[in-house]
């Protein structure tokens, strides 16, 4: 089976992290975002993953060669020279997707959940129509485009953008499965799959919805990246609690790479991810943070709701909070206070940032 992942462009919403690393390779809970999806696809029987990218990255290509070997699958990059929207990339990759008569998966690369690809495939077969989209429930449907469908069969009636009266609280979760015949609906030009293709398919009775169980998050920006991390760690707690770190000084759901070092008298958690080779010195307090590979947090610092970039160094008695994001190789000097700072890579910070701002 095949899958197309809509990777897209520069991942500007996840800057400053994506200034150093292509978004699919940014580690989410100690694993590149893309691998969460690819591994779940492989488990569902996918043996060829096509990445629809709008810019070429050597780093990404090289990493995909490694993953091809590791997972024993084929990974292709389909490069769009001009923006093609959310449907155009399917037309561009038509040759790769339309080689047999099997259905193929399509997904947005920013989505994190307990990927239900097996169930999706099963459900898709069960109704026998052209496409199935995964939907997820939201609290405030008026802020989204919602999907109206028959609860019993899953057959989609229509899509309503930002409904003012309640019609549904299910939204498109950015994961689909289609029969190859669907490709004939798409031209090689900028097209929105949500606005131009799905309504027609629904009209013709060819589009079904499957409701997602469990959490779902678009982790395309730092604030949601952290929220998604909390959800993912909670999901680990339910399914594979042995992967979480426990012991004195650890609170709630904490994921620690085995190569990380944690000092004495620290309190870590809840909701913390500590990457490979990270050093957390003595007396550090961390909650609701991701600390990426090779970073160091020095003694007695206090971090909440932060992403600490690769190989960055946070000094002693530093306080960082409110979605402070350090890019790669940032140095935060001792005793500073960073409140909602967005720090670009390779920067050395010498003074506090008391109000949220970007540090060029």
């Amino acid at each position: 089976m095949k899958a197309l992942i809509l990777v897209g462009g520069y991942g500007t919403r996840l800057r400053p992290l994506t200034l150093s690393v292509p978004k699919p390779l940014v580690e989410f809970c100690n694993k590149p975002i893309l691998l969460h999806q690819v591994e779940a696809l492989v488990k569902a029987g996918v043996d060829h993953v096509v990445l629809a990218v709008s810019y070429m990255s050597e780093l990404l290509e090289r990493e995909m060669r490694v993953q091809e070997q590791r997972l024993g699958i084929r990974i292709s990059l389909s490069h769009e020279k001009e923006p093609l929207g959310t449907a155009g990339p399917l037309a561009l990759a038509r040759e790769l997707l339309n080689v047999d008569n099997e259905p193929f998966f399509v997904l947005n690369s920013d989505v994190i959940c307990d990927f239900p690809f097996k169930e999706l495939l099963q459900f898709h077969h069960s109704h026998g129509k052209e496409g199935t989209i995964v939907v997820t429930r939201v609290e405030e449907p008026s802020k989204y485009g919602v999907v109206v469908f028959e609860t019993e069969s899953g057959r989609i009636h229509r899509f309503v953008e930002k409904p003012q009266v309640f019609v549904s609280n299910k939204i498109n979760a950015g994961m689909y499965i289609f029969n190859p015949s669907m490709l004939s609906r798409i031209q090689l030009r900028p097209t929105s799959i949500e606005k131009e293709i799905f309504p027609v398919m629904a009209e013709e009775g060819h589009l079904y919805a499957m409701e997602l169980q469990g959490f779902w998050m678009d982790i395309g920006q730092p604030k949601d990246f952290l929220t998604g991390m909390c959800m993912y760690l909670q999901s680990l707690r339910q399914h594979t609690p042995e992967r979480l770190h426990t012991g004195p000084g650890f609170l709630g759901n904490v994921l620690v790479d085995p190569t990380a070092e944690i000092g004495k008298n620290c309190t870590i958690g809840p909701n913390v991810t500590i990457g490979a080779g990270v050093v957390v010195e003595d007396g550090v307090r961390i909650k609701r943070c991701t600390v990426l590979k090779g970073a160091r947090v020095r003694s007695h610092s206090w971090l909440e709701s932060c992403i600490v970039g690769w190989s960055s160094s946070v000094g002693q008695w530093v306080r960082m909070e409110n979605v402070t994001v350090l890019g790669e190789d940032v140095i935060v000097n001792d005793e500073l206070y960073l409140n909602g700072a967005n720090v670009l890579p390779h920067k050395s910070i010498n003074e506090s940032v008391p109000e949220p701002r970007i540090i060029m």
Partner: protein, 429 residues
């Protein structure tokens, strides 16, 4: 002649009886320290709620003790008089008692019946000052911090002005960037003077003129009384050009201590002076002791974890408890305060018996006086700008509790508050 209202002054005498002076062959000196009163300490709130401002600790000892010590070191200094309008209180009495014991000198508090100004106060108590016939006497404002070059002022008087002259201590403004368009002088008055008893004639002249003027005017509010005389505006201005008033210009340190924020600045100056005057008061790095950086005063009764890091410019009061991994810089920690593990206190004053929780951050913005503006005042008008508190040092009043892991930034917390969250740029009533 001197008029004294029936309910007027009470002179509080702590401990030692007034000394009678015998010989006039030995030159005799006195010193007067003007300590003001409770209405004058408002810019020192909320700290002046708990202790009279002159007794607030700067570099580990009461502000006033630096003055007294400097006076006591002057040869032939026989008596120190404090003049102010604080009601007699236990702290002041105890302080005077201890200071007399320590410096072996008579120290008395003379209470004004009202705020009489810098000139009015000494004029009112002139009998007390001239009793025993001092050759000369110093007048020091309590709210300055200085190296107090009093002996140098005496020598200067001998060499330049002669026995009948008056000397004002002056200092040059540092880093004078912008000069006034019409240059007058870059020397400012330090509020430290050397007088001889003749000064009372000059004050008396102004006093009588005031009385005459008032007879011609309708009675006004209480402040406007003939006895209220300011040395700087009413006396010195009138004396200028008579060849009696001299300025001794010092290069040693000097600063005003008006606001609470300037206490941290003044502490820095005094701590630095301790290298020559009191090296025993400066903490050093010792095996099993905390990490010390720069000038730090630690009271012997304080209990400090060896993993804490203190300094520069930190003063730790009696019975203070400092936990593991605590960081304190540019701050004054008053007695009985408790700083819990990993907390960080920067540019702040932590009030008596206050508690700062684990990993909490108490931080202010340094408010060193602008060297270009020697008379810069932090008053209620400039406390706020654009509806926001002007960033200043953070002050925790007495018995304030800061919970774990919060930040208190550029804020003033009034006494006896239990905070439950972070605060920034606020006054917390």
């Amino acid at each position: 002649m001197r008029k004294q209202s029936p309910n007027s002054c009470s002179s509080v005498q702590a401990g030692v009886a007034a000394v009678t002076y015998h010989s006039s062959s030995v030159k005799m000196l006195k010193a007067v320290i003007l300590i003001g009163g409770p209405q004058k300490g408002t810019r020192f709130r909320p700290l002046s709620f708990e202790v009279p401002k002159p007794l607030f600790p700067v570099a580990g000892v009461p502000m006033l003790q630096h003055h007294i010590e400097a006076c006591a070191k002057v040869p032939n200094m026989k008596e120190i008089l404090l003049i102010g309008f604080y009601q007699p209180n236990e702290e002041l009495t105890r302080f005077l008692f201890n200071a007399q014991q320590e410096f072996k000198i008579s120290i008395r508090y003379l209470q004004e019946y009202a705020a009489l100004g810098t000139g009015g106060g000494i004029y009112h108590f002139r009998d007390q000052i001239v009793s025993g016939s001092p050759e000369a006497f110093f007048v020091l404002n309590a709210d300055v911090c200085s190296a107090f070059p009093l002996r140098e002022m005496l020598s200067f008087q001998k060499e330049h002005g002669g026995p009948n002259s008056f000397v004002i201590l002056g200092t040059t403004v540092l880093h004078y960037v912008e000069k006034p368009s019409t240059f007058v002088s870059d020397i400012i008055n330090c509020g430290i003077y050397l007088f001889n008893p003749d000064i009372f004639q000059h004050i008396g002249t102004v006093f009588q003129k005031n009385q005459q003027d008032m007879l011609l005017e309708e009675p006004t509010n209480g402040w406007h009384r003939a006895e209220a005389i300011r040395l700087e505006q009413d006396i010195f201005t009138a004396m200028a050009g008579q060849g009696k008033l001299y300025v001794y210009k010092t290069l040693s340190f000097w600063s005003q201590i008006k606001s609470a924020g300037s206490a941290i600045y003044a502490s820095r100056l005094y701590l630095n002076q301790y290298h020559t005057t009191h090296p025993e008061r400066l903490a050093s790095n010792k095996e099993g002791g905390p990490n010390i950086s720069g000038n730090v005063y630690i009271h012997p009764t304080a209990n400090i974890d060896p993993t804490a890091m203190l300094g520069p410019n930190v003063s730790i009061g009696t019975g203070v408890s400092i936990g593991a991994g605590v960081r304190v810089r540019e701050s004054i920690i008053l007695h009985g305060a408790n700083l819990q593990d990993h907390c960080c206190v920067l540019n702040s004053i932590v009030g008596w018996d206050s508690t700062v929780g684990k990993w909490a951050r108490v931080e202010g913005t340094p408010s060193d006086p602008n060297p270009n503006d020697p008379y810069a005042k932090i008053d209620s008008e400039t406390l706020f700008r654009d509806g926001k508190l002007t960033p200043s040092i953070t002050i925790l009043g007495c018995n304030v509790t800061i919970p774990s892991e919060v930040i208190i930034l550029n804020s003033i917390v009034l006494p006896h508050k239990d905070l439950n969250r972070s605060f920034k740029n606020q006054i917390i009533l």
